[in-house]
Amino acid sequence: MSGHATFEPKNPALKWFESRLPLVGLIHSSFVAYPTPRNLNYWWTFGGILSLMLACQIVSGVVLVMHYTPHVTLAFDSVEHIMRDVSYGWLIRYIHSNGASMFFIAVYIHMFRGLYYGSYKAPREVLWILGCIIYLLMMATAFMGYVLPWGQMSFWGATVITNLFSAFPVVGPTIVEWLWGGFAVDNPTLNRFFSLHYLLPFMIAGVVVLHIWALHVVGQNNPTGVDPKTPKDTVAFTPYATIKDSLGMVVFLIFFAWFLFYIPNYLGHADNYIPANPLVTPAHIVPEWYYLPFYAMLRAIPSKLGGVLTMFSAIIVLFFVPWLDTSKVRSGVYRPLFKQFFWIWVAVCIGLGWLGSKPAEGGYIVAGRILTFWYFAHFLIILPLLGLFEKPKAVPASITEAVLGKKGSAPASVGAQAPQTKG
């Protein structure tokens, strides 16, 4: 990660400023001269897409707050006021509600990519754990955001999820009352969720800064999992990664716009257009799609406490993946067995998601148990054993060799391809 050009301003005013606060230099070294592996594929553009989605959610959210009223008697109608009477309010609100789903689609792809290419392995453990923390914060933020319109699913979702904490012995009921700010989900709950929903995105932004910092210390992983060895293995962030990320972002925005403009309620629940009513329980209380795999696990376990612990463990286990995977080879590309088990695990996650949307009865529960077992077995049994028994394929000597074959990485040409930085 060495050898990139340092920023040397020519303009006297900028020179004066840089000698007092090297801000432009920091931006230059992070987003212009920063060397990125030359072989990153489009799955690597999701980091940039996620930054875009975070900014999109914060900006649209700040505007929504200008028109929203966090009170049980007014919240639903204030959201409808945004949809009807605020200029382009429908657009801002649909951006925000669909944006949350897009954020999760992007984060799941980002996480699957990290798991496939072994991006969590040394020296990127801290980077990975920071990512897991961001994911946790996202789940909390999205959950509280879904409560704010105060529709039927908002209310009953909040009731079900907060009640989970009552499963903990001794302290459970106290925690639940503390979350509610009373003895049921009511106005104090809505108010604190609103407050936290506004706070958490900025905490996410803070952890994102740490995440990017950690990334810039250890460098990006790449599809081969082989660290860059010569300058030939890398290209400058600008223009190479910048233009590629931009293309990824715009294509993602097309996908986003499809939902936003044409099927804006597809990812939501019809029941949330019914104002919250504590006396009427919806036929099926279903969380947003991005929680469904965990919801399936919760309901697969016969005991309430067991279900809650299983659900939380499903996320906590991710924090330990760097140490559960015992393989010396980083990228799944060179791990024939791992590759297969990876896709099975992806199918298991999707299967759990589907089960989460189904009622908890009969065969659904049996299927949920088996898939829950497999979800954990993947991390706790398969990953540790694979590293011991799997015979990995030969890993290329360098990134350049992987891209161009053996010839391209001949020592004579090292350095011939200096990054074309104009920065």
Partner: protein, 292 residues
């Protein structure tokens, strides 16, 4: 060794293992599962053709005006629509009555206002800025007049009703942009008052409906042929009434649908051209790297 591993990971085996796993997941999830089509007890509504469906969908003005007439003369005697304002009737993208017509509609209603200088509440004729007056002063009064059932508010009703599409239809709906579960359900419900099948008894005060979850609905058949007099020669059938009022309800629930789809198309064109330009720029920028 490498040879051994590459043969291990050769396609047939890989396909076999993944395929078996996927099949396993599907069998587990689907085969063992109970038939869920019956769980709501309702028949699946037929998918109607709506003028506001699809990427270029627009409301049919004449239909919205007829639907408004049905709502005003029939539905609104029990159902409220508290988020609908009289001014909405004249706004772009809706029934687009003239402002004068909307004023006349508003003035036909007495709205409680006040308190005045003497501290009294008083009634005055409606204005454009007023919202549609509710037929009952509160939920309890509404229930008392309707056999214990609360006629739902129309403001968001067309988006608050749905039916389960199931696999794989729910995935196909993403591509066909199907978002009309609510209108299809409401249309089906309004036409779903049929004689109960043999052996099915409906509780006292309820009515059999083929599409209502549980089939016993408190609302009696709300409209019959020739109940509302159309002035434009449109057939005065239950089916036509239900189409018109459903379209009107969809507009009440989603008044900016036309603007959304219009802007959506513009945004799509922009993004697709932008993506194309970025693609060729990216190709050019990366050209130097690819061969070295």
């Amino acid at each position: 060794m490498n040879k051994l591993m590459s043969s291990l990971s050769s396609l047939p085996l890989r396909r076999g293992l993944i395929g078996a796993a996927l099949a396993g997941v599907l069998v587990l999830a689907g085969g063992l599962a109970p038939a869920s089509a019956q769980e709501h007890g309702g028949t699946k509504p037929h998918r109607e053709s709506w003028s506001f469906a699809g990427p270029f969908g627009k409301y049919d003005r004449a239909q919205l005006q007829r639907g408004f007439q049905v709502f005003k003369e029939v539905c609104s005697s029990c159902h409220s629509a508290h988020l609908l304002a009289f001014r909405n009737l004249a706004q772009p993208g809706g029934p687009q009555f003239s402002e004068e017509q909307a004023k006349v509609v508003a003035e036909g209603y007495q709205i409680q206002d006040g308190p005045n200088d003497a501290g009294d509440m008083f009634d005055r004729p409606g204005r454009l800025s007023d919202h549609w007056p509710s037929p009952f002063p509160n939920e309890q009064a509404a229930r008392a007049s309707n056999g214990g059932a609360y006629p739902p508010d129309f403001s968001t009703l067309a988006k608050a009703r749905t039916y389960e599409v199931g696999f794989p239809g729910f995935l196909i709906d993403i591509f066909t942009q199907y978002q009309e579960q609510g209108p299809d359900y409401i249309h089906a419900l309004l036409n779903g008052y049929v004689d109960p099948p043999e052996g099915v008894t409906v509780p006292e005060g309820a009515h059999y409906n083929a599409y209502f979850p549980g089939h016993a609905i408190k609302m009696p058949q709300p409209i019959s042929a020739d109940q509302v007099t159309y002035t434009d020669g449109t057939p005065q059938t239950v089916d036509q009434y239900s189409r018109d009022v459903t379209a009107f309800m969809m507009w009440v629930a989603e008044p900016h649908l036309e603007a959304r789809k219009r802007i959506g198309f513009q945004v799509m064109i922009f993004l697709i051209i932008f993506a194309g330009l970025l693609y060729f720029t990216k190709k050019k920028v990366w050209k130097a790297v690819h061969d070295h």
